[in-house]
Amino acid sequence: MTKKLLMIDDDPDFVEGIRSILTSADFEVDVAYNPKDGLHALQTKPYDLLLLDIMMGRGAEGIMIARKLRKDVKLRELPVLIITGMREQIAFLFPGEPVHPRFVEIDELVEKPVEPKLLLEKVNGLIQAAEAKKAGK
């Protein structure tokens, strides 16, 4: 079955560069260009994975989404691939925490731009991890 992904990122050109790789690899990709539309999509449609940008709009608005996900009993299970412009910014936003903060139970972090091979590896890996977890319950 085709896996459905949601990408939240405010840079349409960047989004296209990611989306076309994923669609060539037979994923179905929805896109939201701002956190508000992104949250709405997450609440109304089922997805297998979320691709999340951190620095959007006036700052780290992606963090806001991550926080909401963490609080939501259902969305908490959704695997997340964080795609960010700068790893250091993450460390800066979570002072004292390791560079890779655990936003939700299953997540990974990659830096922009992402090589196709790495992107597909991470996406497949996260989806598999989430499925294995579900099966184990």
């Binding site: 840079d11 990611i18 250091e88």
Partner: protein
């Protein structure tokens, strides 16, 4: 009247207080007086003076103590001591404690006016310097965000689309076309790395680096740097040999900025080495110090360039044009300095270069 300058005079002699107030009358300054140190310090809190005159010899707490308290409270307040017996030594002591000048009794109205004017000028300069520093800080932060958004984001989007294009055309492109795509990718990648490095330089306040220090294994940032430079080394067919001694004691440091140091040093070694040569990266322990050396068999650095390589935006006169941005080594040195370490270089033109980074072992540092 927010801009009116405020002067506080602390002296136990009423006649001094009166005459000083008289002399400055009509000059537009707001003047408040106190008959002893305790009262003076109390006034200080609510009055926020620009300038304080303090008599050194007073009953109760001494003028020296008052000086100290003032500077503790606000080091931008300019202080001038009034010395009854114009003993040079007590005036010198006071100035060592931070007083800007001294006024020997008895003094003429003109002397008092002059020293007041000079002291207020000093205060203005002190405040100006502070606001300029703040402005510079703000500019730096803004610049960082501009660089990040206006340069990095578009370039990242370009690269991402190039990745996508190459991925989709995998079975369509011929060899020569693939090479062109590879060249595009490489140049954009180098540009992104350069922007990242600038961004780190601008956004990392080296003075504040110490606040984020943790005990780290030095081989970790070295390994990260090797990974980051891996592509460049592969492209030039360069072999990087590593020799890490096991169970090296930890160092107190910031892993991210140390990674930046090794990325720079190892990156340079690769850049300035001929194709298919070797680079040697080694860790050593010497008493309470850890040595990391990076040795290449590259072009070397001329004796003429050697003293300047740690200065910003210096790229060498050797006429060898290689990609570089001239700030890597300067920043590396600043980062190593912030770690209480040192960085040295040995080089012979045509033979190669060795950089040695020395960092103190963590527990030794804490014992101090």
């Amino acid at each position: 009247m927010e801009n009116q300058t405020k002067i506080l005079i602390i002296d136990d002699e009423e006649v001094v207080l009166d005459s000083c107030t008289q002399i400055l009358k009509g000059s537009g300054h707001l003047i408040v007086t106190a008959a002893d140190g305790t009262k003076g310090l109390l006034l200080l809190q609510e009055f926020h003076p620009d300038l304080v005159f303090v008599d050194l010899k007073m009953p109760g707490i001494s003028g020296f103590e008052v000086l100290e308290k003032i500077h503790e409270l606000d080091s931008t307040i300019v202080t001038v001591v009034i010395t009854g017996f114009a003993t040079v030594s007590s005036a010198v002591d006071a100035m060592k404690k931070g007083a800007y000048d001294f006024l020997p009794k008895p003094f003429t109205p003109d002397e008092f006016r002059l020293i007041t004017r000079r002291s207020l000028e000093r205060r203005r300069l002190v405040l100006e310097a502070i606001s300029l520093r703040r402005e510079k800080e703000l500019l730096r932060e803004q610049f960082a965000s501009i660089v990040s958004h206006e340069l990095k984001a578009p370039l990242g989007a370009v690269q991402q689309n190039l990745f996508a294009l190459e991925f989709e055309l995998l079975n369509v492109l011929n060899e020569s076309q693939k090479e062109k795509v590879a060249r595009l990718k490489t140049r954009i990648d180098e540009m992104l790395k350069m922007i990242n490095s600038w961004l780190r330089v601008i956004s990392v306040d080296i003075n504040k680096l110490k606040e984020s220090f943790t005990q780290i294994d030095i081989t970790l940032p070295i390994r990260n740097a090797l990974e980051s430079n891996g592509q460049l080394a592969t492209r030039k067919g360069i072999t990087v040999e590593t020799e890490f001694i096991p169970e090296l004691p930890k160092v107190n440091g910031d892993a991210l900025s140390l990674t930046e140091v090794f990325v720079n040093i190892i990156g340079n070694a690769i850049k300035y080495s001929p194709n298919r040569s070797n680079i040697h990266v080694k860790t050593e322990r010497q008493a309470d110090k850890i040595l990391v050396s990076v040795k290449d068999n590259g072009v070397g650095i001329s004796q003429q360039d050697l003293p300047h390589i740690f200065e910003g935006f210096y790229r060498g006169q050797s006429g060898i044009s290689e990609a570089g941005h001239g700030i890597g080594l300067a920043v590396s040195r600043q980062i190593v300095d912030a770690h209480d370490g040192s960085i040295t270089v040995n080089s012979e033109q045509g033979k190669g270069t060795t950089f040695v980074i020395i960092l103190p072992v963590a527990n030794m540092l804490m014992a101090n």
